[in-house]
Each structure stands twice: as C-alpha cells, then as structure tokens.
C-alpha cells in the first residue's frame, strides 16, 4: 500500500510544482531544458534556471538530512556505464526536446502529440535498455 502511496503523493507534489512554475513564472518545468538552457542563457533568462537547479540541490540536502534512504543507490554499474548513460541522457534530451518532466508530465498534461510520442518512445527504450542490461550483465541492482 505504502509502496504505491508514496509515488502517488510524490507525483502530486511534482504536479503542484510544475503548475506553480507555470502559474507564477509562465514556464514549463522540463528539467533537461532548464539545465540545457542555463548553459547558454542570456542575462534575463539565466537566474530563474540556476535558482531552480539550486532548489533541486537544496532539496537533496534536506532529503539527505531527514530521509537519506530516499537518495540511496544500490545499483551496481561500472563507471563506464554511468558515463555512457549520462552522455545518452544529455544528448538525447536536448535532441528530443525534453525528458520525463518536460515531455512526460508537462507535455502530456497539455495533450501535446509530440510529448505523448516522445514519452512512449523513451519509456519503451527504457524498458528495452533495462531488460537487455539485465540479460547481458545480470542487472545487479
């Protein structure tokens, strides 16, 4: 029961956050876009991006202090795999114009066909990737 409740509540918090961002600042909370945009933002566009990222980090510190298990990773992956994964996520999210928050939450909520398709694609490839990794490398978690 709790296993389903926490993701649901977490999702509600996320939904409220992205709604607040739209309501107050008129911005879509696509985190890959916020990060990518901060790398080349013009003066007016930079501050809200960097403070959002700072917010993520501060939340991380809060979680680390009060609920460290929420941040604990038990996956066993070589450094090379982590690097490859990071490169793919960075490259792919900029190329595809979004990630789980941008396409998956914001895009689907406004019934964007681009986002619906992007989400179906990255979900399917995620399943494929996780499955093949387990089959070939034992997928130690």
């Amino acid at each position: 029961m709790m296993n389903y409740l926490y993701p649901l509540l977490g999702g509600v918090l996320i939904g409220l956050s992205v709604s607040l961002m739209l309501y107050l600042n008129g911005r879509i909370t696509g985190v890959s876009g916020i990060i990518n945009g901060s790398l080349s933002a013009k003066k007016n566009d930079f501050l809200w991006r960097i403070t959002f990222i700072a917010g993520l980090l501060v939340a991380g510190l809060i979680l680390k202090s009060f609920w460290p298990e929420s941040l604990t990773s038990t996956i066993v992956r070589s450094d090379a795999v982590i690097v490859i994964a990071g490169l793919l996520v960075g490259f792919g999210t900029v190329m595809g114009g979004g990630c789980t928050s941008g396409h998956g939450i914001c895009g689907i909520s406004r019934l964007s066909l681009r986002s619906i398709i992007a989400t179906l694609i990255f979900m399917s490839l995620g399943v494929l990737s996780a499955t093949l990794f387990r089959l070939y490398f034992g997928g130690a978690l």
Partner: protein, 140 residues
C-alpha cells in the same frame, strides 16, 4: 527577483516530490522499467499523480492573460514529429534504462556526495554540449 526566488522554492518542492516518489532511487526506476524481470510498477503512480494534478491546473492557469510574475507564458508550440524528437527520445530512454537516472533526480542526488550522481551529471552536461556542438556544425 521574485521569479528567481519562486523558482528556487519550486525547485525544492519538485525535488522533495521526487524523493518522496522514489525517483531518486535508481534501483526503483530500473525495477519499474524492467517489466520482464523483477517488476515494480509502483512508479507509474508518479505520473498518475503528477499528470492528474497538472492536467487540471494547466487548463485553468492558461486562461490567464499572463503569469503572475512575468510578462508571458513560454509554452512550446512545435507540432512536427521529426527525426530529432524520435531519435532524441530513444537515446534518452536507452540512457535512462541503463542506470535509472534522469536529469532532475541525478542533480538532486548530488547531495549524497557519492560518485554515481557526479559521474552521471558531468556526463549528462557533456552530452548536452556535444549535441549542441554537432547540431550547430550540421546546421540542424
């Protein structure tokens, strides 16, 4: 500046939501994606909760002429289903399924001061820069 401050607070709320949801535990994400293995479908409720809320509020919010603190809404308006979307989403999905980190949870997890998130985030930033570099060269 009010936008910057609210953005900061929203970032905190967003990532607390990620933590509560379990998205900051890569093993949980991998288990969610590993549907033919040790499947843990519970993360689907993250999308249910998030889209459930935002779907309703989006409609209400965009009825306004402007956001509360800024001049205009910046909502993407591309409609083309092009190769960049498809290939980009595919590459993202592959990377996501390999380690279970996507951008926001990985940044949040930097607070652990462990190697995995740092390596991931650095590589992710490099990947972003690489795409823009190659896209500029190929003029796409």
């Amino acid at each position: 500046m009010k936008s910057a401050l609210t953005s900061f607070l929203i970032g905190i709320l967003f990532a607390l939501g990620l933590g509560l949801a379990g998205m900051t535990q890569p093993q949980k994400v991998v288990s969610f994606l590993d549907i033919f293995g040790n499947w843990d479908p519970s993360l689907i409720f993250v999308m249910v909760g998030a889209i459930g809320v935002h779907f309703i509020l989006f409609r209400i919010i965009v009825k306004r002429k402007t956001p509360v603190l800024t001049d205009c809404f910046h909502i993407p308006n591309k409609t083309t289903l092009d190769k960049k979307l498809i290939i980009g989403a595919a590459l993202f999905g592959i990377g996501w399924g390999l380690v279970g980190y996507c951008p926001a949870p990985a940044v949040t997890a930097l607070a652990t001061m462990t190697l995995q998130p740092f390596l991931f985030v650095l590589s992710m930033l490099l990947g972003m820069v690489l795409y823009k570099f190659f896209a500029a060269k190929a003029k796409i």
